[in-house]
């Protein structure tokens, strides 16, 4: 097995997954519609209550990076559900009986989900621009902000890949991940500034990597908090949001990629 095989096999599998996006556009429509709905709900329902200056314009600037983070984390469930589906339908058996690089099924899947996330982030950015969100920094900072979101999502998708192989039922994966992902994306600075949270919850939120990737994106897009006079968190994870996000992402891949690979070797349909 040469390195070239490892790369081309992963590309072949990724291409296969991407064809699905093309053939079932509904899938993409619904993965982007729900975050658009979140933007509108939060911006116009909570916006006025959270933004003391009234009108909600400052809150909308603040909100968008949070919605980005939430969307890419939710998007990672596709990785798990997709693999679970492949196991269930016997497609993983077919792959495992081929002389291909065993890693390709997982790397191909996680890579195609990055492409999926790029498309979703573009749609979300356009929605953001429509409701008044702006990038106040340069193009390099902005691109690095998007890159961090994608790196973070890539890491999460390895957790979901492992889960998808462990529990080969797309329905269970979707429901189970909801229970974890909802608190993870809500007990964070995604939708509200952290100073409004009570003590222990605030500590959790400060060290929650969803907070740090959101914080990093806000810094890199130049989006200030809605209430500039509120106390700013001094947790290391938020003061060094970019470093913490990267460290966390690397650690997650280092732990869950081998776990997912081991589970792949054991995966059996039915």
């Amino acid at each position: 097995m040469t390195t070239i095989d490892v790369v081309t096999d992963a590309a072949v599998v990724a291409k296969r997954n991407l064809i699905k996006i093309k053939r079932v556009p509904d899938l993409l429509v619904f993965t982007t519609l729900s975050p658009i709905m979140f933007v509108l709900l939060f911006a116009y329902v909570f916006g006025g209550a959270i933004d003391p200056s009234g009108g909600g314009a400052a809150y909308r600037e603040f909100l968008i990076a949070g919605i980005f983070a939430q969307t890419v984390v939710f998007g990672a469930t596709n990785t798990g559900a997709g693999l679970a589906d492949d196991v269930k339908k016997g497609i993983v058996d077919r792959f495992r009986s081929l002389p291909m690089a065993p890693s390709a099924v997982l790397t191909g899947r996680t890579l195609s989900d990055v492409v999926n996330n790029v498309i979703v982030l573009i749609v979300m950015s356009i929605t953001g621009l429509i409701v008044g969100w702006r990038i106040h920094t340069g193009p390099l900072e902005a691109l690095w902000g998007f890159a961090l979101l994608l790196i973070f999502a890539y890491a999460i998708s390895w957790i979901m890949a492992w889960l998808g192989l462990l529990i080969p039922s797309p329905e269970v994966i979707n429901n189970a991940s909801f229970i974890v992902i909802f608190p993870l994306t809500f007990v964070a600075n995604t939708f509200v500034p952290l100073d409004t949270l009570p003590g222990p919850l605030r500590v959790f939120a400060e060290w929650n990597p969803v907070s740090s990737v959101t914080q990093a994106a806000r810094e890199l897009f130049g989006n200030p908090p809605p209430n500039p006079v509120a106390a700013v968190s001094t947790a290391w994870s938020l003061e060094h949001a970019q470093v913490y996000t990267l460290l966390w992402s690397v650690a997650v891949v280092a732990v869950f990629a081998p776990l997912a690979a081991a589970q792949y070797r054991r995966a059996a349909s039915r």
Partner: protein
């Protein structure tokens, strides 16, 4: 003898359940072995071990002379697998499915495409080739899945219940496809629940039950062992059923089994229609009226009834001979 598939002492346990209890198989090159058995007998477990998907707890296996456990990747280059559930991607077209498999066998971009078109033509899927496979019928999916197993023209092929769930017409079509395939010299191991299928396709049959090989031989040998066709008779008068048994018993290779409720008897015979005519003649001489009569080919149930004393469909846990 040039052996393509060699299996010795294969054991697989799941906790307390023994799925395979020491199976030995030898498949000479260019021949077809049919693994015949009911659901849960261990057929699929054997296929999964031989195709490197599952590790056995004991025993050895080799494909085309290559050790399955020591060199799984080498083995994968030499085999094609079509599993129990057509493993085609429903969002890809037929062509894309085959092209992808070709790329993953490392045939290269151009050769993969050529091969995909060749196979689509071979399996009468050219017209449907550029449609997503979720628009395919069950029979078309199965054909495409089989085509997928042939992409690299492997010397050894595994088909796990290739016609389960297909309607009779698709089943006959599939048999034709498989027969043409083995005519080209491919070694095939196929599992099935249908005696008729093993009869049509296999050179040798191994009957599997509870993870063991309980009988082996050609279809004719097995049928001779279980006594050929079944003669079935329904008499008009339930009270005279025993009398009818007395009349026909000398014509059978084993005593008949009676069903009082249905006023019927079933008996293994040789000579088929001839035995039926003799039976009817002698019953007429004895003055016994017959409502219904016929000969049928032995079913898997008959094989199991004869070999194990219980029917194939029966609950394995109880192990009672309910049909006797």
């Amino acid at each position: 003898m040039d052996v393509a598939i060699e299996v010795a002492g294969l054991v697989k346990r799941y906790g307390d359940v023994t799925a395979l209890d020491g199976v030995d198989l030898q498949v000479p090159r260019g021949t077809v072995l049919g693994l015949l058995g009911p659901n849960g007998a261990g057929k699929t477990t054997i296929v999964r071990i031989l195709t490197t998907l599952l590790q056995p707890d004991a025993g050895s296996a080799s494909i085309d002379g290559v050790d399955v456990l020591a060199k799984p990747r080498e083995v994968r280059k030499r085999l094609g697998l079509s599993g129990q559930y057509a493993a085609v991607d429903e969002y890809l077209t037929g062509f894309e499915n085959l092209d992808m498999i070709g790329r993953l066998y490392h045939l290269g971009r151009r050769r993969s495409r050529e091969r995909a078109r060749e196979l689509l033509a071979q399996f009468s899927l050219t017209e449907a080739g550029d449609r997503p496979t979720r628009t395919y019928s069950g029979g078309m999916r199965r054909r495409l899945d089989l085509a997928g197993a042939l992409v690299a023209a492997p010397p050894v092929l595994f088909l796990d219940e290739p016609t389960t769930g297909l309607d009779p017409r698709s089943r006959t079509e599939m048999w034709g496809v498989i027969q043409r395939l083995v005519a080209d010299g491919t070694t095939l191991l196929l599992t099935t629940q249908y005696l008729e299928e093993a009869d049509v396709l296999a050179d040798d049959i191994v009957v599997i039950d509870h993870g063991r090989a309980i009988a082996r031989g050609t279809a004719d040998q097995l049928k001779a062992q279980i006594g050929g066709e079944r003669l079935e008779l329904t008499v008009s008068d339930a009270d005279r059923l025993e009398e009818a048994v007395g009349v026909v018993t000398p014509l059978g290779v084993a005593p008949p089994v009676t069903d009082e409720h249905r006023r019927s008897l079933t008996m293994p015979v040789t000579g088929g229609v001839k035995a039926l005519r003799q039976a009817l003649d002698q019953l007429e001489v004895a003055g016994l009226d017959v409502d219904d009569a016929g000969v049928r080919r032995p079913t898997l149930d008959d094989v199991f009834l004869t070999l194990t004393g219980s029917t194939a469909g029966e609950d394995d846990e109880t192990g009672e001979a309910g049909a006797a």
